[in-house]
């Protein structure tokens, strides 16, 4: 009796499993019947840290893509198809990134992915998506090797499915170095990085240029992600007496480092890349961060006319979290994909040609040629998948009072959206009170103020797209053939 019962359960279980699997793997005709008969579902994936201490940036990315998808559906941009968002949390870890990429690539409604935030995660996501021929457009990756391969002098595009709308460290690092030597007149710099792909790469690109400008790197130190107490490193920095501390990494460690540098009585400002360009940097770092600098890709959103609509639409959409540094880039990345889909599907015979593998392949080809006017400026890709725009901006953490004046004088700063509420007149606000509990008062928060926007030009090896005889990836050869020969 007992035995039969068990056998029966086993068979029943298997039957259910087969049914479920069958349903998942089944062809597209029947499954999406719930929505409408004529609109098929295509999904745009997002891979970004949606939890953890980088979630401020990751949630901005997800929301940016969400907004682009909503608008595309409302405008019925892709006839016969309905777009959906498939957001996955990579927790800023490469191994988790590979797992969720596998999950997305096994979903045969996913046509492309926007992501990742972290370059280190991108390294493990690229090959997974490449294997399935799924396009990946990153709003934020800046590590050079992602598009150029290991050898910068002789760039080899490792993954033909990979594009990015963010400017690379090959541009960002030297741009920051030029600002440091020419605008800040710094000659001695201490470099600190977190040993991750992004942080290390950025500081190396910075150091090379800074030395070429005649500066000297007096100290190079490493911190571990997750560490809180940088006392030992700060003491070394104090002794080295640099004019500037350049940090490669993200804001959780940067804000601690900056406030500890300040607490140790070191006057030199800290400068970092787009990884520290987030309000959390000064919200948690406090007064110690005032006067610090960050470079970020593109021009400030407030100075671009195209961005005003985005900010308005974003606010109207009622997301819980602000767009942060990459909301606009994610929005552009999603629109690149949508535009690519229009072209990939538009030329075909509509529904009959809707084999997912074909769509994916066509999409990658289409994205390579897409040109759009994004909220972050014109977006197009070179033969390596890098953005052709090389505009960057240096931002400075500005004391609350100056921020409020700024906000009342000019337009509202992108990130410090709250400052206008308390504009100008609160002069009696003491800017040097304790840093905590600043959430309540709008006017006593520092802000990022654009300091200098420029197009990076003067580079030697970065512009040289050397002829590569050894051909590893076919698409690279194909696209390079068009451009270089």
């Amino acid at each position: 009796m007992r035995r039969t019962n068990r056998t029966f359960r086993l068979i029943a279980g298997l039957a259910v499993a087969v049914l479920v699997l069958g349903a998942c793997g089944g062809n597209d005709d029947g499954d999406t019947g719930g929505t409408t008969d004529d609109a098929k579902i295509l999904k745009i994936g997002v891979i970004a840290p949606l939890t953890g201490d980088l979630s401020a940036l990751g949630l901005g990315i997800r929301n940016g893509v969400d907004l682009a998808i909503q608008q595309a559906n409302e405008g019925n941009k892709i006839e016969g198809y309905k777009l959906e968002l498939a957001a996955e949390d990579d927790t800023a870890k490469p191994d988790v990134g590979a797992q969720v990429a596998t999950k997305l690539s096994s979903d045969d409604e996913v046509v492309a992915v926007v992501g990742t935030l972290n370059s280190s995660v991108a390294e493990s996501v690229q090959p997974v998506l490449d294997g399935e021929g799924i396009a990946m457009v990153s709003p934020a990756n800046t590590a050079i090797g992602l598009t150029m391969g290991a050898d910068q002098k002789n760039p080899q595009r490792p993954h033909p499915n990979y594009f990015r709308v963010a400017t690379t460290d090959a541009v960002q690092g030297p741009f920051a170095a030029d600002f440091a030597s020419k605008d800040l007149k710094a000659t001695e710099v201490a470099i600190v990085h977190d040993n991750k792909t992004y942080g290390k790469g950025l500081t190396e690109a910075f150091a090379e240029r800074f030395k070429a400008n005649g500066g000297e790197v007096v100290l190079t130190e490493t911190v571990n992600p997750g560490d809180k107490d940088f006392g030992a490193v700060v003491s070394r920095i104090r002794r080295a007496k640099p004019d500037l501390i350049y940090y490669g990494g993200e804001y959780p460690e940067a804000s601690l480092l900056s406030s500890q540098i300040d607490a140790a009585g070191i006057d030199a400002p800290l400068m970092g890349g787009d990884g520290i360009y987030d309000d959390t940097f000064f919200e948690t770092g406090g007064d110690g961060t005032v006067g610090d600098f960050a470079t970020s890709v593109g021009a400030p959103l407030t100075e671009l006319e195209s961005a005003a609509d985005f900010i308005e639409a974003y606010d109207a959409a009622g997301f819980d979290d602000p767009p942060s540094a990459y909301g606009g880039y994610a929005y552009d990345a999603a629109n690149v994909i949508i535009k690519g889909l229009e072209e990939a599907l538009g030329g075909g015979e509509g529904d009959s040609a809707a084999d997912i593998a074909t769509i994916r392949t066509d999409l990658i080809e289409a994205i390579q040629g897409v040109e759009i006017d994004g909220v972050t400026g014109p977006v197009a890709f070179d033969e390596l998948g890098d953005t052709t725009t090389k505009v960057l901006t240096v931002y400075k953490v500005t004391a609350p009072r100056a921020c409020a004046e700024e906000a009342s004088g000019e337009e509202e700063d992108e990130d410090a959206t709250t400052t206008t509420a308390a504009a100008g007149e609160e002069e009696d606000e003491d800017a040097t009170t304790t840093t905590a509990a600043s959430d309540a008062e709008a006017g006593d928060k520092p802000c990022w103020k654009p300091e200098k926007t420029g197009e990076f030009s003067g580079s030697d090896d970065e512009a040289a797209e050397g002829e590569s005889d050894s051909s590893t990836t076919t698409a690279k050869d194909k696209s390079a053939g068009g451009a270089a020969e």
């Binding site: 201490d53 979630s55 030992a232 070394r236 959390t280 948690t284 770092g285 406090g286």
Partner: protein
């Protein structure tokens, strides 16, 4: 040479946090041979309890000393409540289970607490600013610069350790704790309420961790829900280094670990990148020659 003293001071400050947390590990291990991996989260809960007290209970404009006192009380209450609940719900039912079961449970509790704070504390998805209630100019002792809060932290660690040692040595409850650690069954036969003693042990450890959490928050001006994880692992390492189960050993181990990390950064090649490597090299080196840690008693062959 002056760099040595500066870095030595840095190491003492770092070590004092390790020491305060390591005490909780070592006491709980001493009593019930449980490696309570959720103890780092008790430290984190204390910091958030203190922050919540400051945000919602401390009146605006309260003098810093009063605010500090209230924050400390709030932090300790939060940590103690968490630890008591944790002991009652997660560990006591497993008291007689194989030792692996409570160990895995501890890791589970750790994840529950971290995620609980991340999801339910307002704005805790990213780091939260923490009030710097002890501020003022840094103190300069010759070439050494040290923040006031850091000095308070080191002194607090020393005072609390001495207090704890006296408590364990001199009081009736302390004697009962030692008896329970020695042999729970016999202790019970002598009329000691073992369950109560175990709860008291958790309470003491939690209170120390809460103080460490508040001090760390004030020192760095920010806290986040992951702060307990790495700290817990480091403090556990310190406890093992000093000899787990031994109170003085935990403190010694804590200070030693802090000093090794800091001095490695200063003096060894690739120091700052490899400081954890050097710390573990020291740990392994000591365990090779003294398997029970610096001050460890012989490892009891209980299971």
């Amino acid at each position: 040479m002056n760099q040595f003293f500066q870095q030595f001071a840095n190491g003492l400050v770092l070590g004092s946090t390790y020491a305060l947390i390591a005490l909780g590990y070592t006491m709980v291990y001493g009593i019930i041979q449980l490696i309570n991996f959720a103890h780092g989260e008790i430290f984190m809960m204390g910091a958030f309890g203190g922050l919540a007290t400051h945000a919602w209970i401390v009146p605006d404009g309260a003098p810093a000393a009063l605010a500090l006192l209230m924050v400390l009380v709030g932090a300790i209450l939060t940590s103690v409540a968490t630890a008591v609940l944790m002991e009652r719900l997660a560990y006591r039912p497993l008291r007689n289970a194989p030792r692996l079961a409570p160990l895995i449970t501890a890791i589970g509790v750790s994840i529950v607490l971290q995620e609980g704070i991340r999801l339910f504390y307002p704005g805790a998805k990213t780091a939260r600013p923490f009030p710097r209630l002890i501020s003022g100019e840094n103190l300069h002792l010759g070439e050494i610069t040290i923040a006031r809060v850091s000095i308070v932290q080191v002194l607090t660690a020393v005072v609390l350790t001495v207090g704890l040692t006296l408590f364990i040595r001199r009081t009736r409850t302390g004697k009962a704790m030692r008896a329970t650690a020695e042999d729970p069954q016999t202790a019970q036969l002598m009329g000691i309420n073992v369950d109560r003693i175990i709860v008291i042990t958790f309470v003491l450890g939690a209170a120390l961790a809460a103080v460490a959490g508040v001090l760390q928050g004030m020192r760095f001006g920010q806290i986040d829900f992951r702060m307990g994880f790495l700290m817990g692992i480091k403090a556990f390492t310190a406890a093992v280094l000093g000899g787990i189960g031994n109170v003085a050993g935990a403190v010694l181990g804590g200070f030693m670990l802090g000093l090794v990390e800091v001095l490695a950064t200063e003096y060894l090649p690739l120091g700052s990148a490899w400081k954890d490597v050097w710390a573990f090299v020291v740990l392994i080196g000591i365990l090779v020659f003294r398997p029970s840690g610096l001050l460890g008693e012989r490892v009891a062959a209980r299971a």
